[in-house]
Symmetry: C2
Subunit: 295 residues, 2 copies
């Protein structure tokens, strides 16, 4: 399913009020993208720390903030983007949906999806309002101070093609899709399971591989590293607590990806043990050709 809307239509249709629950790197970047492109839109930050929220307001990426979304706020048209760590998203969605009026749509930015839908299973109210999303963008430095209004420019945003019996209305899906497009994303629709299988490969495994490479090298050998190591391990400096939740939110698929990587490492080892230059070169060439296709 593809939704084609011109930028003019997007501009006309854009939300008047957006609430960002969790104003970190991702939430902050979404807020900054809205502020830059749609200065008329209210951008309300929601979080625990008044001090942090006020700082984000002072930084100009919010127009207001709250420590929670009141039922009253949720009665007027509102698009809510839940940008919390993945393990907290389902509960937040459920809580917001409970109080939400008919013109509230909830989306999120979590990098695992099946776990959220499993947790929301049977919750008709939540499933009717929630359009799960994952904009594939990020950075290893957390906090709204690193927010980037262009973070989502030309990045894929997966919208979950929910196969539960309870579905959001087509108009809600359209509002969510238009929202993500308006801040720069290209929309791709897939099921939560398909998303998690692919992201285990394209995002979760690379994080584990970068972390493993870093740990094997160790602090003492850092002076002997070059730019290759620097790039290969950059994402390993990301937040450990956040990534723990991502990996634990998608354990089966990440285990499968680790198994594939381990099997390939065993192939390299076998090639080296047998001094099998052809095998080693074939393995390297496969990777080189594949990586060369990423322009």
């Amino acid at each position: 399913m593809s939704i084609i809307v011109s930028m003019n239509e997007l501009l006309q249709k854009f939300e008047t009020r957006v609430a960002i629950v969790g104003v970190g790197l991702i939430g902050g970047s979404i807020a900054a993208a809205i502020r830059k492109r749609f200065p008329e839109c209210d951008v309300i930050g929601v979080g625990r720390s008044r001090q942090r929220l006020q700082a984000a307001l002072d930084a100009g990426i919010l127009t207001g903030w709250e420590t929670s979304l009141s039922a009253e706020m949720l009665q007027r048209p509102l698009l809510v983007v839940v940008c919390l760590p993945v393990n907290l998203i389902a509960d937040s969605v459920a809580e917001i949906a409970e109080k939400a009026g008919p013109e509230t749509v909830i989306t999120d930015a979590g990098s695992v999806k099946s776990d959220i839908y499993t947790r929301l299973s049977g919750n008709k109210t939540a499933l009717a309002r929630f359009v799960g999303a994952h904009p594939i963008a990020g950075g290893e430095q957390g906090g709204f101070e690193h927010a980037d209004a262009e973070l989502f420019e030309d990045r894929v945003c997966v919208l979950v093609q929910n196969d539960n019996t309870e579905q959001p209305a087509a108009s809600s899906i359209e509002r969510a899709a238009n929202f993500w497009k308006a801040i720069g994303c290209r929309i791709s629709r897939m099921t939560a399971e398909e998303h998690d299988r692919v992201l285990a490969l394209t995002s979760h495994l690379p994080h584990v591989m970068a972390a493993v490479t870093t740990s094997v090298v160790g602090v003492n050998n850092l002076p002997m590293t070059g730019s290759g190591f620097r790039d290969t391990t950059r994402i390993a400096s990301g937040d450990a607590a956040l990534w723990k939740e991502i990996l634990l939110g998608n354990p089966t698929q990440v285990i499968s990806a680790i198994d594939s990587a381990s099997a390939l490492l065993a192939d390299y080892k076998r090639g080296l043990e047998n001094r099998d230059g052809q095998l080693i070169e074939d393995l390297l060439r496969d990777a080189s050709k594949c990586r060369g296709k990423l322009t």
Copy 2:
């Protein structure tokens, strides 16, 4: 052992003639660095393809070229830098040393070292003239067209502390050290074995890990990758034939590094299977703390 020389002394002492055997990315960058910093110095490219050498001359990074170094050329003071693929270095060093006069010093830029010294074992002529080196710098795009005169700026160059009975003269080691420093490097001295053990971790393993990550993801999933994958796998697009020789030139140490990585991957897998958040977070935090030390 540390050699401290002021930049003034380096400028006074710099070579009058340097021959670069193999004018690819590394050889070309060395040539470019010399041309930029020491325009009085002759920079002679040596290679098989007259056309490529002439193109490098036309690009201004050489002052002359030859398809081989004649005995006559090697009688005058000359510093030779062998920048061939690692499997070809020992033979090239032996051949040049055979014809070399007393004022010729040979160094190289190979990223594995023990194998070269093993191949030169017993060759007194070669061992007396050869100061093995490895400037830790590179790029995934080959060819002198990608040469960068600043490639070696502030990079570590390992000079091999040869423990063979036959040693180059202290003055030869000093000439080689001064050469690498003059084009930007910081000198670190270690044995060939120590070099290969550390580089297996800091360079050869990261290449294998990047290649494995790329192959596991595969071409079809590339549209779903983000900047994390892009950085983590950049080096995987390097030249497969060149990297095959590097890995096969250091098989024991690379196997040991792969074993360490496989064991850590197994830890992650166990943590995921047991839903052991503490283990996963500890593993990730170890990597994050280590990577955070690389400024």
